[in-house]
Amino acid sequence: MASSDKLPFDGVKIADFSWVWVGPTSTKYLADHGATVVRVESLSRPDILYSLGPFKDREAGPTRTHAFSDFNTSKLGLTLNLKTPEATEIAKRLISWTDVYVESFTPGTMAGLGIDYEVARKVNPSIIMVSTCLMGQSGPASAFAGYGFHAGAVAGFYDITGWPDLAPDGPWVAYTDVVTPRILSAIIMAAVDHKRRTGQGQYIDASQLEMGLQFLAPQILDYTANDHLTTRNGNRSNFAAPQGAYSCAGDDQWCAIAVESDEEWAGLVKVLGNPGLATDGRFATNSGRLQNHDEIDAQISQWTAAKTPQEVMRLCQAEGVPAGVVQRSSDLFEDPQLAHRRMFPQLDDPQVGPVPHTGHLFDIRGYDHGPRSPSPLIGQHNEQILKEFLGMTDDEITEAVIAGALE
């Protein structure tokens, strides 16, 4: 761990009123790298992630879900029941304390609670306020509430995932939830840098659908410019062959192989040990291989069937052919490359004990970083936040407790 005065976002303050995925994972980057992030929750409206697994040892319970704890590291926990006027007043003090105010509710929710941007900038003229929701703050579908599954379907990610002869499969995860936090986090970091230099804050309306669509830009253009519709095609590429996941020895074990050039094809032919493939004119060019994909797949599958996926990967890699084991979570924990990068540091969670957490996905050389502390328990840091950050007296805190503001 670097010394505390060298953390990138040390001194940056964030009031995180967001929940579920996008908001919390966006602010996690800043929290892990030094910002003081206050995660606001309410017992009256617990985060939906508390009912989503995986649960520690498969025993369900709000504080046992890794879905919450992995994505709220390095944050402080404050409880506020914003349905009470006393909590609204505390929220305003938090808003005047903070540099960045993040929320991810259905448009209009914060206005209803009396803490929208108009109110926020009155109490803190240089505040950066971020609202992120599926469809954005305006437009006829702005009230469309839901998850990244819904936005992923509207964007087109479902239509392009699965097999052409079956119903769309969809990404396993709520896909826009994994596209948008990185873009949103970059926007917040840029806004923080701008504020540092100019003192200017602003309001940011970040639609998860609109950010997500950036990942389909070439295919959107292919339609709008060429009138060409792309759809799901298993693992095949529109441009190069052969590509696929091939069944290997063992229980449901697979290795992906992808040939993108004539050189890689020559390498694969060598690996397969079938000289007939090299001399067959149908396979000599990429377009020929695209046309005869089924036949090539049969040859590859025959070769992979009796080998472990690791063996297939090793033999292909040795000839310069891109190949990779289809890894499950259990494989990731055995992956020597990920061990080398210290991908899964253990954090001692106060509820469930030591658990591997997701470390940083990029590595800044010479800066030994990672999640700084486990995710907060609900309301764990109430006293510290109310007293030290907001300057509340013991009497004020007692009144807030009596009013039910801290539930």
Binding site: G139, F149, L184, P322
Partner: protein, 408 residues
């Protein structure tokens, strides 16, 4: 927001979105291309399906808000020009094979000599070092090694990736976050920073609650078709409707409404309404408590409700009633989605063949520093004279040497 900063983009398709994010956020991005152009210029899809120069839609998609300079880094004048640009830059982003830039004398150590405050970002499939650092890779193999493929697809066939490449895009947006984090660190330490971005780890993040599953619950999640896995229950999300498919997450208040509508449509008898506390139904299922109607019955009922209705009917009806029923859009549906049009999301881009096309707009709406597309993707070397002449003060013959275009 990032207008004081200059970014040198030396990437190919593996990193072009990284510098585009910084460019969209206001930075001056100079795309440094070899004399033959970025490899992404030779990647499909192509405009009018013609694999020719300046026709790559892959390139067009991820290179707005950039200027293009050609530099021949095999020559001394080209390298000297690059170092002169580095002196004026704040960020370098590259996506060459691990160690390749250093091997040419153009790695981090050389760059920090030229500019001791530079932020150098390197994007590779697996990272700069380690046992797999030199593995050849493609989008498919990174999706496999990163884990998300293991979760996707139907159980009786192979696991699947998304059919369109995503790995380099995830790595790229991760790199833009890494760049800005390292820049904040540079401001504190006054020292150049090196950021090592691995596409594999960027893909691991896309497994979300699936990535650490084994270490937490003692077993993996496995692919189960188009369902969401909640504890021990698999809830089917995709339902066939009259003109395609819709995604419905039937829990809570939405499920109660769906049950009401099914009763109104005569799909199920009225006694369903009171048979369950529907908003709490999914909790009971999760906790394996006895229920009046099984989850399979409930999902069949939802399927029956949507079967004779169109995607748009379901979307509009759901919007009015607060039940999210999301159409599974193809690109045609998407470009006609009224909401995006009314938000002014789409932009009209001038294409290299003189025509125009609708393209995705800016990332977000900002009140203080609005984002915009200031430049459409550049032609190869379009700004070589401007950048090398005006910024570095090179003569026209020096420019010709450095850019690899010979005398005259």
């Amino acid at each position: 927001m990032l207008s004081p900063y200059t970014v040198l983009d030396l990437t190919d398709e593996k990193g072009e979105l990284a510098s585009m994010v910084l460019g969209d956020l206001g930075a001056d991005v100079i795309k440094v291309e070899p004399p033959g152009g970025s490899p992404s210029r030779a990647m499909g899809p192509y405009l009018e399906h013609a694999p020719e120069a300046e026709r790559s839609l892959q390139y067009f998609a991820f290179n707005r808000n950039k200027r293009s300079v050609t530099l021949d880094l095999e020559t001394e004048t080209g390298r000297t020009a690059l170092f002169s640009l580095v002196e004026k830059a704040d960020f370098i982003i590259e996506s060459a094979q691990a160690g390749a830039m250093a091997g040419k004398g153009l790695g981090f150590e050389a760059m920090r000599q030229a500019n001791p405050r530079i932020v150098y970002v390197a994007i590779t499939p697996f990272g700069q070092d380690g046992p797999h650092a030199n593995f050849p890779a493609s989008d498919l193999t990174v999706a496999a090694m990163g884990g998300p493929m293991s979760l996707q697809g139907v159980p009786d066939r192979a696991p699947v990736r998304l059919s369109l490449p995503q790995a380099w895009l995830h790595a790229s947006v991760e790199a833009s976050v890494g760049a800005l984090t390292a820049h904040a660190l540079m401001l504190r330490t006054n020292q150049a920073q090196f950021v090592d971005v691995s596409a594999q780890t960027a893909m691991i993040w896309t497994m979300m609650q699936g990535m650490s599953a084994h270490s937490v619950q003692g077993r993996d999640f496995n692919r189960s078709g188009n369902t969401i896995q909640l504890g021990t229950v698999n809830l089917r999300l995709v339902h066939e409707c009259a003109d395609g498919y819709v995604v419905i997450f039937p829990i809570g208040g939405a499920l109660f409404k769906l049950v009401e509508w099914c009763v109104q449509d005569g799909i199920i008898p009225e006694d369903w309404l009171t048979a369950e506390d529907w908003p709490m139904y999914h909790f009971k299922v999760l906790q394996q408590q006895p229920v009046a109607h099984t989850i399979d019955e409930v999902l069949e009922t939802v399927s029956a409700y949507v079967r004779d209705k169109t995607k748009n009917q379901l979307l509009e009806h759901g919007l009015a009633e607060g039940v999210s029923m999301a159409p599974v859009s193809n690109m045609e549906d998407l470009t006609r989605f009224r909401h995006l049009e009314e938000r002014g999301y789409w932009l009209t881009a001038p294409l290299p063949n003189g025509s125009e096309a609708q393209v995705p707009g800016i990332f977000a709406n900002l009140t203080g520093t609005p984002l915009s597309v200031r430049r459409w993707p550049p032609k190869l070397g379009e700004h070589t004279d401007e950048v090398l002449g005006d910024l570095l003060g090179l003569s026209s013959s020096q420019i010709a040497d450095a850019s690899g275009h010979g005398p005259g």
